[in-house]
Point group: C2
Chain length 295, copies 2
């Protein structure tokens, strides 16, 4: 196992315990809602956003226990968006991370409330733990997450996505959609990790350039995997986007040009890290991981 | 027109303009989402929570322009909860504030995203405007809103509500449900208004006792109105809760005992304000307004 794999899996295990501790316990009222919140967040996913936050936090010399809170807030926002995305009125999907989706395992009304309560929880975490000695910086972190989640970020991307069904988008339009839908939260994860420590403004700008490239690369690779892999490997329904007549990088460019685009974005992400030197090594490895992953 | 009516309607008009300014403009992408967000928040409701925030802010000597931001955050959380509550998988209601509900005017997927994006916007507002010279106090305000909205507050109350359909609740159980579902956010509105200024801890405690009583009184009166008024007067479907076999104070106690309970809670709310003297006059008037309203 490479050094990176060991680093990633150690962080993933530790982070799972952190999430278990931060989510409302299932014996607290209302129990069913709390159980459904835990079901929707725990045991799931590659935790790409948290890993990016950890790597950015290390670069910024941030204490891991603070970065974990910030990473949990971002991952909980991500989890809520999946719960709502899977609902019948949106993507109507039954499988997520190899398990029945929340509205299938529980019911639609519960899934709606789970998503809502997870979003509140994310902001509670960012405001009730000490994440930076400077409270004004921490308020700024709250703002970053709110903007990345809202109608000019992830939520807006989903609205553009809804409107795009059955339409022929141009490449810039598709890019706009994904910069909002996936990119904003990935970028936010990196910045929040770094805000738990200290960087110069120039270093923040370099990190942010990396975040923009890797956020888009993540989505291009997602589209490629969705078109090539099978449902068992993905743990979610494969080929769904193309079946739903949603534009993807693959339907727009073809697989081979989409792969070329992912490689170019990877190169730009690595280039953005040049001045950050050796301490940015984990971010480079994460860029490799994001572009070369098979699920 | 009484002095109170003039005060309330001046604040309501001014607040409407503030909301128009704070909500995303409808010409900004994604336009349809932004239009639906504005549709769901503007021209609606009595703005009881904002009025409570304004009265608490006056008591605490807070600048109105700060209290308006805090009030907007609370009202936007309230508006999102109504949008999600009205959806087919929850209360399945078609009329709200005399207009078609969001999912009827737009569509279900849009209503889901509207609620989600409004919640993010509330936290964005609380974090991007200066509301208190002390950033740590402002972070505390973010935490108050997150807790009041989440699974131990409003969201939790809705989950208890869901579970209660068709069940015979005891009075303490019904009270628990409403303390979460309606009470938490009303209490939060008052505290956030006060946090834009300065009060002693003892004064905060008195305000909070007032908030708890008036929050519950609000719900008891809502149940009475729901059982007595007609749809045209309410601007929402009347008799809905009883029809849905949901326990209410009226179904549990009967109208006359429910009215007695509202009067008692009103008395307790007024009593909590005793030591706050004349500066708490608006809060007393609001208690009267909440208990004596006809819609």
């Amino acid at each position: 196992m490479s050094d990176f794999s060991a680093w990633a899996s150690a962080h993933q295990s530790r982070f799972e315990e952190t999430l278990k501790r931060l989510l409302p316990q299932p014996d607290i009222m209302p129990q069913r809602l709390h159980a459904a919140m835990r079901y929707s967040v725990l045991d799931g996913g590659k935790r790409v956003r948290p890993l990016l936050a950890f790597a950015a936090g290390e670069l910024a010399g941030a204490p891991l226990e603070r970065v974990e809170i910030a990473a949990a807030a971002v991952e909980i926002i991500h989890a809520y968006s999946l719960v709502h995305d899977d609902m019948p009125c949106m993507d109507d999907d039954v499988l997520r991370r190899g398990k029945p989706t929340c509205h299938v395992e529980y019911d639609e009304a519960t899934a709606l409330l789970v998503g809502d309560a997870l979003q509140s929880l994310a902001f509670q975490l960012l405001s009730e733990h000490l994440l930076n000695e400077d409270a004004a910086t921490q308020l700024q972190m709250v703002r970053l997450l709110a903007v990345a989640s809202g109608s000019r970020g992830m939520g807006g991307g989903q609205a553009i996505d809804l409107d795009s069904v059955g339409k022929q988008l141009t490449l810039p339009e598709l890019e706009q959609m994904h910069i909002h839908k996936t990119g904003a939260l990935i970028r936010c994860a990196i910045l929040l990790g770094a805000h738990c420590g200290h960087l110069t403004q120039a270093q923040f700008d370099q990190l942010d350039r990396y975040g923009k490239c890797i956020g888009l690369a993540f989505q291009v690779v997602d589209d490629i995997l969705d078109s090539e892999a099978d449902t068992a490997t993905l743990g979610k329904t494969a080929g769904k986007d193309a079946d739903n007549d949603k534009p993807t990088y693959v339907t727009l460019l073809g697989v081979s040009a989409a792969k070329k685009m992912a490689a170019e974005l990877h190169g730009q992400a690595i280039e953005a890290l040049t001045d950050l030197g050796a301490p940015a090594q984990r971010l480079r490895e994460l860029a490799d991981f994001i572009v070369m992953r098979k699920f």
